[in-house]
Structures are given as structure tokens and as C-alpha cells.
Symmetry: D2
Subunit: 316 residues, 4 copies
């Protein structure tokens, strides 16, 4: 991620603002406001704006005339209660806005979270940056053998090199040809004064899916947590998880009490099915139980044993 001098100056100008407000303020989040936090090789996350803090959740839950409750411990107890019992609307009362730079194939996963507001950089209107994602060596994983939707071993040696070379040369060539078709370089120089360029809305189709795009993305706290729960999970694709991990940190800086409850009840928690509950009860009461008597499928059994760190062999 390289910011131009002009972009760096714009960010500094924003950060030098010193405005007065009667609104609640999240001091830790203020300290990183507008900062471009680097992700992957050219991406970033910037927190642009926010509304509310932990007390806003309590304030709305109580439909209060004032601010939250008097005591932080009371606020904390209520927030945990709301999280545990899936009360959703008070968490919708806080809002956050990010500026994000990310590869298009990740943007396509991301956009499926519909309860958010988005303004994306328009490739109908402007020329895209010459930046594309190339995985680092340790993220160059083979297809998983047992999970059709996952990664296995990391590729190494010649094959790794071959893959990286292909990704790099294809992205560069398609970008060069994008410029050729536009008859214009990224910096605005016309290539051949005698020619017209192909319409931008058409030329962009030649770019590869690892080309970077950027957008403003705004959502409420509830939907941010829904996003993070799925995308910071170990089953999420590494490249989107890299963003989710950084955003988890912004969540902590913004609403620390909510963050703690979220980690306990959502991220670190698990769900147990009706049949799974019976298995756990039997185990607690010392009964012999195995996969056959459990009524669970093999896949369900394994997932349950994994969730509770149980040795599949011992439990019989």
C-alpha cells in the first residue's frame, strides 16, 4: 500500500481537526481515526466516522432521557444480558464507517452482507489503480483434500514460484492491455492522440479479479458483529479474515464492553443441537456413549467432539 503525497496530506488534514461536540466520543477510536491500517500487499482499512459508544446501547435499551446508566458496571451487566439473549435492536444504535481498499474477488464476498451502505470507486467513471493482490509465500495454499471449500498444505518450491509468476504476469499484462484499450495511462497521459479510447465501462472487463478496488462501507454495530463473526472465523477465506482481524481491533477500541461480550458469547461460544445436548448430558453423567448411540451423523459427531476438545477415541 503506497499512498501518494497528496493522499497522505489529506489524511493529515483530517486528523488535525479539533472540533467540539456534545455527542459521545470514543477516545481510543479517535486516536486511530482516518489512519490507513495496511492489510495484505496493497489494501487498507480506515475508520472514517462513527456514532455512539457502549453507553449508547444502554441508553437506547432503556429509552432514556440521559446517558446510559450511572455506573459502568451496570452498563456492562446490561450489555452482556442483551448479547446473551440476542436482543438485537440496541446494538443497531451505533454506527461506523470505513474506507477500505481490497481485491475485487474479496469485495465480491464482502458485498453479500447486504445490511450495510456502500459507495464503491467507479470503474465506469475512473481508471482503476495499477495494484493487484499477490499472495505471500505462506498463503499460497493447495486445495484441501477433504473440504471442497478450503485450503490444504502450502505450496512450495518450483510450483509456488510458477503460481506467483503466472498471477503476476497475467495481472500486469491484462492491466497494460486495459491501458492500451483505454488509450490512456493511469496517470492520465493519452497514449495515441489520434485514437479514441474504448469506454471505461467496457475496458475494465479485461482486468483480473485480484485487482484492487476501494469503497466506503458503513454499517451498524449489530451487523458489524454479524460480519466479523463469519469473517473472522477460521473457516473464512484467509484474505477476508485479514480484514476482519483488523476490524476486530477497531471494534475493541470503539466499544470495549460490547467487544468483550461479543468474544465470550459469539466468537468463543458454540451452538449445540438438540441431539448434541443429549450427548453432552450423557457424558456429564458418566454414561457410555458413542457415535452410533448418539443419533448424530459422523460429521456432527466430529464437530461436537472438536468444539469440546474431546478425544474421539476415549469417548466410547
Amino acid at each position: 500500500m503506497k499512498l501518494t503525497k497528496e493522499q497522505q496530506q489529506e489524511i493529515k488534514d483530517l486528523q488535525s481537526q479539533d472540533n467540539k461536540t456534545k455527542r459521545v466520543v470514543a477516545p481510543q477510536l479517535e486516536s486511530i481515526l482516518f489512519e490507513a491500517i495496511p492489510i495484505l500487499d496493497h489494501g487498507f482499512v480506515r475508520v472514517i466516522d462513527y456514532m455512539g459508544d457502549d453507553t449508547s446501547i444502554v441508553q437506547a435499551a432503556r429509552v432514556s432521557y440521559g446517558k446510559g446508566t450511572k455506573k459502568v458496571s451496570t452498563d456492562s451487566g446490561l450489555i452482556k444480558y442483551l448479547m446473551r439473549h440476542w436482543h438485537s435492536t440496541p446494538f443497531e444504535m451505533c454506527e461506523i464507517k470505513y474506507h477500505i481498499k481490497l481485491p475485487i474477488f474479496i469485495a465480491r464476498q464482502w458485498i453479500r452482507h447486504r445490511t450495510a451502505n456502500v459507495n464503491e470507486y467507479s470503474a465506469r467513471y475512473s481508471i482503476l489503480d495499477k495494484e493487484f493482490y499477490l499472495p505471500s509465500q505462506e498463503n499460497l495454499a493447495a486445495q484441501s483434500k477433504n473440504n471442497r471449500q478450503g485450503r490444504g498444505e502450502v505450496l512450495t518450491g518450483d510450483q509456488a514460484e510458477e503460481v506467483l509468476n503466472l498471477l503476476k504476469s497475467d495481472a500486469e499484462r491484462t492491466y497494460d492491455n486495459y491501458e492500451t484499450m483505454l488509450n490512456e495511462r493511469y496517470d492520465g497521459t493519452v497514449i495515441n492522440e489520434k485514437k479514441s479510447g474504448l469506454a471505461r465501462e467496457l475496458a475494465r472487463m479485461n482486468l483480473t479479479l485480484n485487482t484492487y478496488t476501494q469503497w466506503y462501507w458503513k454499517t451498524d454495530l449489530l451487523n458489524l458483529m454479524n460480519f466479523l463473526r463469519l469473517r473472522a472465523d477460521s473457516h473464512a477465506q484467509y484474505e477476508i479474515r485479514a480484514y476482519a482481524d483488523v476490524m476486530l481491533d477497531t471494534l475493541k477500541k470503539w466499544v470495549p464492553i460490547t467487544f468483550e461480550a461479543f468474544m465470550d458469547y459469539r466468537v468463543g461460544g458454540t451452538e449445540v443441537s438438540s441431539k448434541g445436548k443429549r450427548v453432552l448430558k450423557d457424558l456429564i453423567s458418566g454414561k457410555n456413549i458413542n457415535i452410533d448411540s448418539s443419533g448424530l451423523s459422523k460429521r456432527e459427531w466430529n464437530e461436537l467432539m472438536n468444539a469440546f476438545d474431546l478425544d474421539k477415541k476415549i469417548v466410547k
Copy 2:
């Protein structure tokens, strides 16, 4: 609307906050933040929080590293363009949160705007205030003769008095019986120590629909304008219009450039159908035209003539 001393103090405490922020600030809106603006006999609107201002719309539309554009005039031109061409997503980048007290039958209209976040005072959990809406004399309208969904002449004299008496006595009696069933007064005094009270979630069903409720209501700028366009309109029921009118003023204080474009393109504008366009073209070119040759239904014809202040008789 009477606020208790405690409520007044809570509001003063909020207003005395003097926080520093790097976020953009809307100074005019700050000046009325938390204030309870009275509406109808016991209702109010309070602006509790907001995110963004006019420059945020431009900033998002351009997916910019800095703030809006350099010049206010450029921002203004872009905002007008976006409004005129129904670009919706940049307007979603601003958010506002209200605390509102309103009669239940109006709350039922209001809640149909789904793209908003709501926390309502819970009558399962708490006892509702002893406050109900009684229309002022000039708002006591008869059913319209020609519009099944509207108001006609104002009722006067004995009939007006009778209606007001009925509304008042029914609301008071049902509230008294609500307390009797709860075995508890609004202020928490138990009526009969030997009895249990009926569950709150049941007792509330005895209240009339003009009882006041209150909620926190949060929405983005686009959906706020959608709400105001419908509810500040002359066809909206007077009681909800009273709220919309006050909220229009908060819109002006918040995002003055957007407000102006909204008034020009949405509130003061009109839609013309394909057939209506032909009629207007004929009128401009001086052709004779009447309802029969227009292809419009009587209703459509009248709506078109009204929209353009045309005398239905002259145009033949």
C-alpha cells in the same frame, strides 16, 4: 409535554458535554442537540446523535481520502446532481438518531418505514405514562366526503365538545382501570398489598390507541428523506405531519445543502406520466386539449391540472 425535574437535569447534563472530536460536526444541529422540541399535546422530538454532514455525501460519492471537495460550490453542485438523478447510496452515508414521544396510533403508521432502527419503551417491562393525545379544537375534522382516507370540515359546537369529552373520559377510565388491574399506580405505589397485579404485558391491552409511547429511532439520511417526503406531504395525517415538519427543520440544520436540493427536487417537485407529458407538450405548443382527447382518467386529469395550477375550464 411535561418533563420531570430529573429528566430536565439529564438533558442539561448531556448538553453540557464539551467533547473533542476529529469527526465532522454540524454546528447548527449541535445547538439543538438533546433538546425536547414539543409536538402535539404531550409529544416531542429530540435529536440524540448524528454522523456526517453535507461533505460526507461528497466524500463517499468520490471515495475520497480527504473531506468532500475543496469548494462548497462544487459540493453543492454534486449534491444537486446526485439528488436529481436518484443516486441514493451517498445519502446513506449520514446517520441521525432521534428520541421521540408520540401517540401509539401514530407510532403504528411510523413503524411501517422499515429501514430504520428502533428501540421502543417496553410496556411488557414498565408502566406507560399517563398521557394521551387529545386533538386541539382546530384539528377535530370530520370524515372527508370525497376521499375515504382524509379529513373534511372541522367539527364545531356541541359535537366537537362531545367528541373531546368522549376521548378524554375513555382514555382516563381505561388508564385508571389499567392501574387497577396492575394493582399499582404509575408512580409505583401498590394499590392493595394483599393482591397480585395482572402481568404488565396483559394489562396494557386495556389502553386506548392515543396513549403516548416513546422510542429511539435511527435512520440514514436517504431514508429520513423518504420518510419526510411521504409524511410532510399534505396527504399525510395531520398528527404525523406535525412530527415531520419539526424533523424537516432538523434536516435543514444538519445538512443545509441537501435540504435545499430535497425541497426543490422532491418536496416541491412532481411526477408526470407518459400520457401526462403528451398533454403538457400539447399545452405548450398551444394545441387544444381536453380530458377526452388526453387519454387520462378524470382523476389523472385533475391531478395534473392541480400540479400545474391550471384552470380546468380554460384548458379545452
Copy 3:
């Protein structure tokens, strides 16, 4: 619930339709289509229309050219997998539409589920039916002592009678005065030819919250399950649970495989927090554990013990 002869005839006419379609059909649901299933004293649920069945979920998940998979057992396995791993979008591919008659105070809870389409009977436009909800004796519960948002013991004897009398007489009186203000009876008879009636949009405010309203309510399968999960739960208010229970049955008739997975993973399942998982692991491995060493609050501890039917005393 009394349907007029005309209404009964309209329902029969709908049921006598014998249309041909190439769309998938849910035979069990067809058998109760349009039927008014009675709920509470005057309410009902009617299934009006639906789109898709269990195979539609599989078809969409696979983005298939044909119908689901070849075998029911494969469909079933995939549906369970999708449910267990919170894949939501395939379940959105089925849609259902209900006609529901329900008391207004329940309608106000219901409408908070925003991801649904609603057309409600308009009391601005028409006169509401003279029907209001009166709880049966066994549902006349006192306020819970330990849960501010719940019910306790059932009221009996004189107090029960008093409550029912108050509810009945207040609803009847306010309805009578509604007619007086309208200067019109429910059946359309004008009361006093010399008077104008109060506008309907105003007169309705005199009605009590147990008055019945009705609406068309349409949602997708995912959001129907979200609704049922919350509203068929034992913590939901009895009156809305009565609707949810009947709708659970329509779910079973519509998509039997999905229903089974829903009951296992959602309705009968439970969530365990990060701390709760540690407690269960300790119990399974036979360790001594009590509330103090658990790190759980008293409330969390009790909820966990209840979820797994554990005796709070034995576990020490």
C-alpha cells in the same frame, strides 16, 4: 372468530381452484390453503400463497439447472448441513404469504420483524371490526415476581372476574363511543343523518389495544424461521406464541425436511458461551466445579444448568 357467509364463500371459491402449474408444489400445504385456522378468541392464520419447497433450497444452493438433487436423502443431508452452518441464503429462496387476524398489541410486537412485507387493514379508510381479545381464564396471569418481563401465577376468583369485566366493559364502551364519534355503525348505518362523523383516522384512537386488526404478511423461509425461533419460544408472550405454534405446523406441512433440521438445530438447541464451554468440559472430565470457580455470573450459571438439566446442588 366468526366469518360472515360471504367470507366463507370467498374462501370456498379460492379452495375450489384447480390450476395447472409447472412450479413445484407442496401437497400437504395445499391441503390447508386459504383455510382460516382459529387462534385466541377471534384471531386466525390463513396460508394464502407460497413459492418453493424443500427441493428449492437445494436447487438454489447448487445453482442448478434442474430440481434439487436426484435423491431425497441427499437433499436432506445438504439441508441439515446448511442449517447447522448458518448458510442463510438458500433458505431465502422460498416464500410464504399469510392472512392473519390478531389483537393490535400483538401486531405491535410482530411488526418489529422488519424483513417481511405487510399490508394491514386501514383504519384510516375503513371501520374496524367489533372484536377484541379477552384472555381465557387460564391465561390471566399475574406479573412475575422475579422477571420484570414475564408472567407469574394465574389470577383466580374475584380478581380474575374483576379483570375480565374491566377488559370487556372498557373495550365495549370505547368501541361504542368510536361508533358515536364516527356517527356510523360498523355495518354502515348512519346514526344521525344531520351530523357529520369524525374522520376515521381520528376516531380510531379511542379503541383499546386488544381490538383485532388483520394483515397480509409475507416473508421468506429464513425470516419465518427467525420469527418462529423467537416467538414460539417459552419466553415469548403467550398471545404471540399461540400464532407461532400454528405457524410451526404450517412450516412442517410446507418444508418437512427443513422443519426437522430447524427443530433439532434451532428450537431444541442451545448456545454455549466461551466460559460455559470450559464449565461443560470440566464437568465431562469429572472435575469439581462450582459457580465461583466457573467465572460465570449467577444468572449465566443458572441458565447453563437449566439448559443441560443439571441439578445446581449436585454440581459442586
Copy 4:
């Protein structure tokens, strides 16, 4: 668009269904159900399922026990009224589901319509088809000179050929390298038995944005019209308009009365701002008016003159 024999057979099997239902049926739409209607070079639109017809709109608007009204003419009048006055909820009562094959860069525009349900073919899980969009000669437009977001003249001769060659060769090469990285051909043949393939979720990033994807897309009638209004408009990019045009035809087959009202009030209609209304009134009353006295910007003036086919020179 080439369907495999197996796909063709699956479609035939669906079309040979002859199910009985009590639901309303749209006979014209039934006649094209499941059919793959070709669009662009490899794309298609298939109608997979639907719920409701024109009468369903009326039925919901009236919260009726039966079906629509008795007479088609009454239904038609009500539907026009609802459309003209922006009553939105009755149109949400009909639902339609499509299977669509489209280039990724168009899918990225399309997905911005959030109020829809989508299941997309997963390139994490499966290998994408070897099909990419190449514009036909007459759609190979240059960038517009006066509209940064539009097309100008059509490219011809050598330049056209060059562009097409670049698009074709880049798409082919990146696809071949996609297979190389996967170590697997589209048909499943492993390329080199001794190697592991790169994970699918990574390899896909090498594909160009004109690669075809496919999805199931389901929406309600209101949101379908919102989509078509924007995407069948002359300002929409040609490639998405090609889909919208075909879908307009499915709209006509599905709900012919609504289609007619939609074409009159939305597609063929126009909006006039507050200032624009003053200009039209002056023109009708024969006053002299020009751009300077109008208070309109040059752009607004031109848009108004264009909307009403007025000669900009004559009007002075």
C-alpha cells in the same frame, strides 16, 4: 450460450411437470418457465418460480378474504392508482425467481440492488465455466467525450479488431493459467498427477472480469420494478440493459396490468423539480422564458427541454 445435453434434459424434465395447485397462476409466464432465454454471447435468463399475479396486488391492498375484486377493470383501476401514488407494499406481495448467467463485471453492478435474495455459483467450491463475454462489433463503443460515465462513437476498423483480440487473448490466457494453477481442467481431468493444485478460492483471482458467473436471484415485484426502472434506462450500461430488456418481457407475461401502469408512470414518465414546474407553467401561459430567467442550471435546463422535446432555440 451452449447448454450441455444434461442441462437441456434437466430443463425439459422441469417443463414436463404437470402439477395441480390452488394457487393463482400466470399462464403466459408458465409458458416460458425454466426456458433459457439467451442474452449477450453466453448469458441467459431463466424464470424458475413465481408467486402471485395482478390479482394478488389487489387482494393484499384490500386485505381480502377472497381473490382481488370481481372485475378486471376494477383491479386495473386500483393498480394504476397504487402505482401513481407510490403505494409500495401491495406490489411487494408478488415474488419472482430467476436463474441468470452473466459476466462478473455486470454481476458487480447488479448485486448493488440489495433487496433481493441471491445464491451465486461458488468459485471457492467449483471451477468456473470457460466462458467470457466479448462484445459484438456494434457494442464496441469509445469513451463518451461529454459524459465521463458513458459511451460515445462505435470503434471500427483496426482499433476494433485490436480491442477484440486483446480481450479474447487475455481471457483465454488467464483461463488457461487458472487451469494450470488448479492443476485441473474444467472437465475434471487432472493435469499432473504428481502435483497438488492451488486452492480454488485463490486460483479464481486470475480470471478476468468478463468471465461468466451465474446465480439464482429472487425479488419481489416492487424491487424488480425498481431494478428495471434503473437498468432498462438508456443511461444504464448496455450489457445490463440487455438483461433488463428481457426481464421487462417476463414482467409483461407475469403481471400485464402492472406492466402497463409501470410503463406509463415510471418508464415513460419524468420528474419535474419545483423550479422546473415554474418554467413549464410559464411556457403554457405563453410567457417568454429562457435559461437565465428560469433559475435552472444549464444542465437542468437541457434535461427539462429534452424531457419535453422542446427546441432549446425557440424557447426564448
